[in-house]
Symmetry: C2
Subunit: 747 residues, 2 copies
């Protein structure tokens, strides 16, 4: 009951007439500069998203998915629209999903996307809504979404009009679809997705049912025909071309197939198209569609999506700051709430992990776990703002272990893609556990983590180089670009978390074992360079060594997507030990400051994401955190398409900004202390879920009178002055209020 009251409380916010949180969101942020977000319609944690697709079919596009590495269905830099893509990823670094391309055209039927696409204008994107005008056709194309269904609304000019569903193209590198005409307004089928980050076995089907609001004059399939040779090519006029099937209406399968509907439209005729999806079956896709959208009502669906967003976003109310800053803040929170998304159908069914079987849940089953990213700050933000969701996310992760034998690493719609490295479920879950999220199968979770931390490498999906790690305490460089140091650093933070978990479960021996392992990072410290440095199998350091090699995502021996500078300080669980290695506080601080001054710092990736907060470990140096964070916000976060530092990484870059703008950051996963920095806003009100946090609200205030007051003079939590620049999670959620006394200089 309480939960419902809380949800109602928040959803009521929208009725107030003033500017609402949802009004500040700008879905175009991150659609350039490789942010890889998109402006499509989606609900919070929604399975469905409906996104304009503009990355193929024309040289007038600056970026084309087939001519380079490209991982988003849309970019603000392009101008050639080829439809609405259904089910998409937000903020990832590999091409995936972005299929079921729904396109309206006018005039004669043409099913070749390199010809039927259009330039567009008058783009509008809001949470749960996207609209544009296709200049080639004079068609207004709008989209909205519920949790598992999409709805498109096309307003046609008078004359011939067409609706095309292209099942051949999409962002995914998988191909192959099958589709069936059910009746003159409904089709159903499936399309294969996957090969995320070129993992050839991580594939899965999306099942769909699509319904048009008006029966067409005619409908049929198309398929690109296999090129023939010689006399056969002479006889078959469709050889190598798109063939329209005008009479056939049973199953149609192939690499490049689609369905067309033709109409004779009156001026401004509106045709709506709804699409239900499921990852279990066509039947479930239909059930989802009929349950969430029993009729055609665009305004109802888009209003519901908007209200859902406003309810979620209203968990944090900010005051002060510019409109752009509020936009950046709420858009970051919006982006953070897209993944993980639910996977189960309305009847609770979902594809079990790495299995042909179908599971059933009464809660939410989540998917899209980019855990190497999200364990660093998304987990912490979910725990704070959406603990009722976080517990279901963790239950999902433990269930994945039960189903497949392993916790997830980079899970995608029931498939382990094995993208990036480490054992990231451990810090993700342990951090939440330490902060009080405990209503999951703890013993199984522990077993699952222990499996990753103790299984020999040849059988260890999480830690393929576990044997070296167990015996040597580190991972030696065995191949030129094997990311060995990056691997080991992930194992250290995971084992440190696992140690804390073991400790709190009373497993003292395990606690000691894993703690000791977490300290193995010291092997990598090179006094010569003052950085971490790869170690060869014989125990000697790798030479010739250049700690700068690996910037800008270039390959680097030992380091993944970064160089030694981006990783050297990534021992958040033992900053004291690292400081000692580096020769004391001053050397540590100077070196860290140099990383920023010399632009060795990479804001676009995760390993060094918490660096700015490390200054606060040293008395008198905390102002550097406050200054640096504010500078990074200013330099990398904008109310513009290029307003993210790089791949959003399913909300990780966004979560960084949300914490930074609220004035605190979880600098070490598994450590319940937040590092303080100065809030960007004058006042931040966090609506806490009273089921988890009985105080129910946290008001963060400042005494700021001028924008340049970015330095902390003093912080009070519930009228109690804090000693130092940390606050524990418990203190924070129970404080009721936190008051920042700020100043304009670091003196």
């Amino acid at each position: 009951m309480k939960k419902q009251v809380f949800a109602l409380l928040l959803s009521g916010v929208l009725s107030v007439s003033a500017q609402q949180p949802v009004d500040y969101v700008n879905p175009f942020i991150g659609t350039s500069n490789y942010g890889t977000t998109n402006p499509g319609a989606v609900c919070p944690q929604g399975l469905m998203s409906v996104t304009p697709f503009n990355v193929m079919g024309s040289e007038s596009n600056k970026f084309d998915k087939d001519s380079q590495w490209w991982s988003a269905p849309y970019t603000s830099d392009n101008n050639y629209f080829t439809g609405f893509a259904h089910v998409n990823l937000s903020g990832v670094g590999c091409p995936e999903l972005g299929g079921l391309l729904l396109m309206p055209t006018a005039g004669d039927l043409n099913v070749d996307y390199s010809q039927y696409g259009s330039a567009y204008t008058e783009e509008v994107a809001k949470p749960g809504y996207y609209g544009t005008k296709l200049t080639k056709y004079g068609i207004k194309a709008e989209a909205t979404a519920s949790m598992r269904t999409g709805l498109s609304r096309f307003t046609f000019p008078a004359g011939k009009g067409n609706i095309l569903l292209n099942l051949g193209e999409g962002l995914t590198n998988e191909t192959g679809a099958t589709v069936r005409i059910v009746n003159d307004t409904e089709i159903e089928g499936s399309k294969l997705m996957g090969t995320f980050c070129y993992n050839p076995q991580a594939v899965f089907p999306v099942y769909f049912v699509m319904k048009v609001s008006k029966a067409p004059k005619q409908m049929g399939y198309w398929k690109k025909q296999r090129p023939m040779k010689g006399v056969e090519a002479e006889w078959d006029g469709y050889s190598g071309k798109y063939k329209l099937y005008t009479k056939y209406n049973r199953d149609m399968s192939g690499d490049d197939v689609g369905v067309w509907f033709t109409y004779d439209n009156e001026a401004n005729e509106v045709i709506e198209v709804k699409m239900g999806v499921s990852f279990v079956s066509i039947e479930n896709a239909r059930l989802n569609m009929n349950t969430e959208q029993p009729d055609f009502n665009f305004d109802k669906v888009s209003t519901a999506a908007r209200e859902q967003w406003n309810s979620d976003l209203s968990r944090v109310l900010v005051e002060g700051g510019s409109k752009d800053e509020k936009t950046i803040f709420y858009t970051a929170l919006y982006h953070m709430l897209i993944h993980p998304n639910i996977l189960q159908d309305v009847n609770g069914e979902y594809p079990m992990m790495e299995s042909l079987k179908t599971g059933k849940t009464s809660g939410n089953r989540y998917t899209v776990f980019s855990l190497w990213d999200t364990y660093r700050n998304v987990s912490q933000l979910m725990t704070l703002l959406f603990p009722e969701r976080q517990v279901e996310i963790i239950r999902t992760m433990v269930d994945m272990y039960k189903e497949s034998g392993w916790l997830p690493k980079w899970e995608l719609f029931g498939r382990e893609t094995l993208t990036m490295e480490g054992d990231p479920s451990i810090p993700y879950i342990v951090d939440a556990w330490m902060r009080g999220i405990r209503d999951f199968d703890v013993e199984t979770a522990y077993q699952a983590m222990r499996k990753g931390a103790t299984t020999p490498g040849e059988f260890n999906l999480m830690r393929p180089d576990a044997n070296d790690y167990f015996t040597k305490g580190y991972v030696p460089l065995r191949e030129k670009f094997d990311n060995s140091v990056s691997h080991a650093l992930e194992y250290y933070i995971a084992d440190w978390n696992l140690s804390k978990f073991a400790q709190s479960l009373g497993k003292k021996e395990d606690a000691k074992l894993f703690y000791d392992r977490s300290m193995g990072y010291k092997h990598y410290y090179s006094k010569e360079y003052g950085t971490l440095r790869p170690i060869l199998p014989d125990g000697s350091f790798y030479s010739p060594f250049d700690p700068l090699q690996g910037a800008n995502f270039e390959p680097s021996p030992g380091f993944h997507e970064g160089n030694s500078w981006n990783y050297t300080f990534y021992v958040p669980h033992d900053i004291a030990g690292l400081t000692k290695l580096m020769g004391g506080k001053k050397k540590f601080v100077d070196k860290l400051q140099m990383v920023f001054d010399k632009k060795y710092y990479d804001m676009a990736n995760e390993p060094d994401i918490a660096y700015p907060y490390l200054f606060s470990n040293f008395k008198g140096e905390e102002w550097r955190t406050q200054k640096t964070v504010r500078g990074l916000l200013r330099d990398y976060y904008h109310n513009a398409p290029n307003g993210l530092p790089g791949n959003d990484d399913t909300g990780t870059m966004s979560a960084w900004a949300v914490f930074a703008m609220m004035g605190f950051y979880p600098a070490c996963p598994g450590d319940v202390n937040y590092t303080l920095t100065s809030p960007l806003f004058d006042k931040v009100t966090i609506k806490l879920n009273p089921d988890y946090y009985k105080k129910g609200e946290l008001v963060i205030g400042t005494n700021r009178t001028h924008a340049e007051e970015i330095y902390i003079q003093e912080v009070k939590a519930g009228n109690k002055k804090l000693n130092g620049y940390f606050i524990s999670h418990d203190e924070l959620v129970n404080a009721g209020s936190i008051e920042y006394k700020l100043k304009a200089t670091n003196k």
Copy 2:
């Protein structure tokens, strides 16, 4: 009851120890010289056939389906085997079906057919059985079939063995399939077929369920991947190649997909694979499989197929003649009984004509109607030997009209392919009606025929040039190669038949109308050339005219697959009229003899197929029929792969030989008189179905003492001496015996 007794009577024959009719069949006849038959396993009128496929994948093959016009799944001229094809056409001139390619291999898994194929040896083909040894692998591969299912038996050497189902390749020019792993021994799916004779809309799906007798060590899909470009191609090692899916087991769709099973075999390990198909649904395919093959029992299935064949072939018992001649005879009868084949599933369901709907029948629903061919002699042979089947064939044709609005022309699995010309259902059905097949919806059949004979051309599927035909009495040449004369000749014979049908139904006005139209052929007679000749729209003859243009299937103005000589005598319903036009008997006979003497006659196609029998219309010239027929049999029919004159045309060439060897031929469709010629065999016993022919048996005897006695001196039917060289159908079936008195010279 009677029917069952009759069937039992015939099926009992096999228990007799002597050489049985089935033992004479050589399924390799017609597998070279473009006969386009195949040596696969099939039951009489069976939906399923399982045929070795050897027309792709290697340059060691003489003929390759993708490098030329090629319409058979197998040819004796090739040597590279790539699997057993399931569901095939026999004796047709366009590539179709020949998919669901099942291949056993040994050693490491390889799914590329250009590599996994094998040479072979020790081929054995018998009705319902085919076997060979794959030399590359040492695997024995055998196949058999029931009406709707196939069964393959693979005997492996010790070690790694694989079973592959290739859904990407096949004889059909359509592509696209979907398949699903049901469990570790069963898969199900569908594959698109069609585009027969390059009709782009005549497509249909085959649904299948396949089960292996032993669970594999591992199984999975493969799919040929779309070629990628640039950096994507670098990252994806499968770009443009076959990818093995090792973990995925939900729906797999695409242009070029397949399923693999791997085994560790002991020496001589036998694995059987059964396949059920349906043209309605996967469920029906499974029902067919489970009903017709509840277990795995190769010998049981192949014995049943053999008994079914022997029962059918035993309707005619021949004595005398050489072993080769018996082989030619029974193989011809065998080939004649492959199409049309049943279409309905064991529950009676079938895809309705040109429809998404499923029909249901308690009888047999037939498909594969190559009617431009079969109305000439297959209809008559079915009426005589299998009247109980013929009535269901005609019911099927009338039902097709009810379902689609048109009688069939060249129907293929529920689709009208519109191959060849004319209105061939009319003579097919009317001929049967005239011979006493009457238990069908006669009134609807008449309406259906009348529709083709009276509907304006723009709405007339059978006669697109009906308007000219109705108003002018002929079809003028409107395009260079428009086959106009061929079209009109088909309309004449159809209308003559329709006239006779109308007459017998008491529709006198119609009878006159259609009879008059049937005489329109006279327009085409050119006194100058003494042949039929195309007419231009202004009524003048086409010039420059060469009556020899069009030989060997080269294009010819006015004539389809032939020249004027091949068509000039094709007025079987008015030989008297044609004789008059030609200037009398002598001129007619001399001219016809010249056609044979100068080799203008084309034994490989249907228009002139009855020419040899026309001599018998003239007193004193009948010996020419007897001599010519015997010469053609000798020259074109052999017990060898090249033993058919050309495309068997779903049994039409074979039916020609069956009649010729028995001693009579239906030279004019719709005319119940057979033209007599001398039987090749000394004695022919025809078991007549007593439900239709109460005499129950016809014994044809000769007094031949030497093989050169090929000329008729006298014929007695039931002790009554015949006047002339014709015998009506009624006389024949009621004669009890026909006795040929033969002589060695034509004097």
